[in-house]
């Protein structure tokens, strides 16, 4: 599904990612762990199409060159990023935004757009699954949301858009254990044989609830070790400083 070969990314001629390689097959869950500043968010941003990086190498998503696709086209193809810091968008109603987003994607895929009633039914169902207070959906997008509400809102968007590749950038950071479980349930309910996940995290904790197939350790823009779930535990015990 996703093939990253020799990815190199610089900002202002500062090297952030270097010789980065990763392959994710349909249905797989990969975790990337790494200390602050190792390049995790940069990787997520590049996969989603954010501008401002000098990139080289190759990224194929379902055999298509990602660099040739605009940000929104990647979303249409099924790439979703749960932001580490979801943005506050004043004056934009959350529900209306969700509907606009879903219908933009459905339209691009040649599917029928949902009308207000169909959409509301879907959103109610998903919000309930995530124990997400519906009242929040009538507020302005992320404005005045607590940290946990913002993260849950990302997961709600993910479950409504039903992407093929979901990238979760430190979604677990700052969540209490109940919220963490809800997020994990959200991910697990989307786990199907065609849906893949890239779970970026600082801590091992989330991986107690979402069992990854592979764990990669990212240091200074490069994967220095890959393995199974046991690698996360090893990291947790040793700490990043003593790893290597």
């Amino acid at each position: 599904m996703l093939k990253i070969k020799n990815l190199k990314a610089d900002i202002d001629s500062k090297s952030i990612l270097n010789n980065f390689n990763l392959q994710i097959k349909p249905g797989e869950v990969h975790a990337i762990m790494g200390p602050n500043g190792s390049g995790k968010s940069t990787l997520s941003n590049i996969l989603s199409g954010k501008k401002g990086y000098d990139v080289s190498g190759e990224i194929l998503f379902e055999n298509k060159n990602l660099f040739e696709l605009e940000i929104e086209e990647r979303a249409h193809k099924g790439i979703f990023l749960a932001f580490q810091y979801p943005l506050e968008i004043p004056g934009v109603n959350t529900n209306i935004f969700l509907k606009t987003s879903l219908n933009a994607i459905r339209k691009a895929r040649g599917e029928k757009e949902l009308d207000a009633i169909e959409f509301l039914k879907l959103v109610k169902l998903k919000a309930k699954e995530l124990k997400f207070d519906e009242e929040i959906l009538n507020r302005q997008l992320n404005v005045g949301f607590s940290g946990g509400e913002k993260k849950k809102n990302e997961i709600l968007q993910m479950s409504i858009l039903n992407p093929k590749l979901s990238i979760l950038d430190e979604t677990d950071s700052g969540l209490d254990i109940d919220a963490l479980k809800i997020v994990a349930d959200g991910v697990n309910s989307l786990r199907k044989k065609d849906n893949s996940f890239l779970i970026i995290t600082h801590y091992q904790r989330l991986l107690d609830y979402i069992k990854p197939d592979y764990v990669h350790v990212l240091m200074e823009g490069k994967i220095i070790k890959s393995g199974g779930p046991e690698l996360a535990l090893e990291l947790e015990n040793k700490g990043y400083e003593n790893f290597n």
Partner: protein, 413 residues
């Protein structure tokens, strides 16, 4: 231009039947205008918008006389059809329709045979010009204890018959005690390169409510000035909303005197500009007595080479204790060639007051765009969503739901 002014002024006097008294006043005002001329940037009030220059750049051979003897056809398609309303229709500066079908006839009075008064602002040459050249000067009186059942729309229409002319309109509105009026001003210009000079005087008496929505939305090459003087008595409310968007140049000036206790004034405005448009909102809110309140919120979205100016002044007299004055302006600059000038000014002589002001401008937040696009919206959609969101809170300040929806519709919000 002086030659032209003189010829046109004499032509006006010749072809109208003004009272002797008015002719005398007009001559005086005419001479005062000749002496001062159009304002330019050396005047503090005009330092961001040099009207003299703007007129000479945009209007070739400006003339001042327009024959108002023949009636004009009204293009009915311009009327707002989603809203039942009363009408005052001006076409090329000539009144063509006065219609108050929804109201009790004896509760509304319209006078047009008025003696001109000396402008109360001795520095404003455009008021001299207006007094000198205005043909019919109207006064609308809303009687004591009467609230108009439907809004009044003043249509100010110009058509292709008008080119490089100066049009002067003057309307006084008196809201007697305990009355209320919702007034929408809607301009529609199919004319080109004219100077349109409008003067409103509002007298809002005790316990009365004025809601005034000024909509300049259809694109045109005219240069406009609209001076609004508002006097407010005890416990009165004025709510002004400005949609400043369509004209090549427009300056809306609002001089509001809060003369009675518990009087409050709200000024909310949107600049939505593109191309080379240059718009200004200038306010003077004068807190004259204690316990008065003013609130101003102005937002702008500027594209291409457009320019917006907001000069907002809050003046607090020494006896105006417990004044509450608030002012905020924000602009999104979509292009490096746009310009937003905000000049907040507080002049406060009382000590127990609550006054604040703030201003900010910047480009669209690229991270927000990225966030929205990553959810499947294209750049244009993301931009529109952000801009609409930015403007929404100004429109939400409109307290009349029907008119709020009308304006949302007009700007596609």
């Amino acid at each position: 231009m002086e030659e032209q002014l003189k010829i046109d002024f004499e032509k006006l006097l010749e072809n109208s039947n003004f009272s002797k008294k008015n002719v005398e006043i007009k001559r005086k005002n005419f001479n005062d205008f000749i002496e001062k001329g159009f304002p330019n940037r050396r005047e503090e009030n005009w330092k961001f918008s040099d009207l003299n220059q703007i007129i000479s750049k945009n209007i070739k051979n400006l003339s001042f006389y327009h024959d108002l003897s023949k009636p004009n056809k009204i293009d009915q398609s311009i009327f707002i059809d989603s809203l039942e309303h009363n009408k005052l229709v001006f076409v090329n500066g000539r009144i063509e329709k006065i219609e108050f079908d929804y109201e009790e006839k004896n509760k509304i009075q319209i006078l047009d045979d008025l003696v001109l008064e000396k402008p109360n602002n001795a520095n404003n040459s455009l008021l001299f010009l207006n007094n000198a050249f205005v043909s019919k000067y109207f006064k609308l009186i809303v009687k004591k204890n009467y609230s108009l059942l439907k809004p009044l729309v003043i249509y100010n229409i110009t058509n292709k018959d008008l080119v490089s002319k100066s049009v002067n309109l003057k309307v006084d509105i008196l809201l007697e005690e305990n009355s209320s009026l919702k007034l929408i001003e809607l301009s529609n210009d199919k004319s080109t390169t004219n100077f349109i000079n409008i003067n409103y005087n509002f007298d809002v008496q005790k316990n009365s409510i004025l809601k005034n929505y000024k909509i300049d939305n259809n694109s045109n090459s005219n240069v406009k000035y609209c001076f609004n003087n508002i006097n407010q008595d005890t416990n009165s409310v004025s709510e002004i909303f400005l949609l400043s968007s369509g004209s090549e140049f427009i300056k809306n000036e609002i001089n509001c005197n809060l003369n009675g206790k518990y009087a409050s004034a709200f000024v909310n405005g949107i600049f939505n500009l593109n191309e080379t448009k240059h718009h200004e909102i200038k306010t003077n809110i004068n807190h004259i007595v204690e316990n008065t309140k003013s609130y101003q919120l102005i937002k702008g979205v500027l594209e291409d080479k457009s320019k917006a100016v907001y000069q907002g002044k809050i003046f607090v007299e020494s006896k105006a204790q417990k004044t509450d004055g608030y002012q905020l302006s924000k602009a999104i600059l979509l292009n490096d060639n746009t310009e937003f000038n905000a000049k907040p000014e507080l002049e406060i002589y009382a000590d127990d007051v609550k006054c604040s002001h703030g201003s900010a401008s910047g480009s669209l937040n690229e991270d927000s765009i990225f966030y929205l696009m990553s959810r499947g919206l294209n750049y244009q959609e993301a931009k529109k969503l952000l801009i609409n969101g930015f403007l929404l809170d100004v429109v939400e300040k409109i307290t009349d739901t029907e008119i709020k929806n009308l304006i949302k519709n007009i700007i596609n919000l």
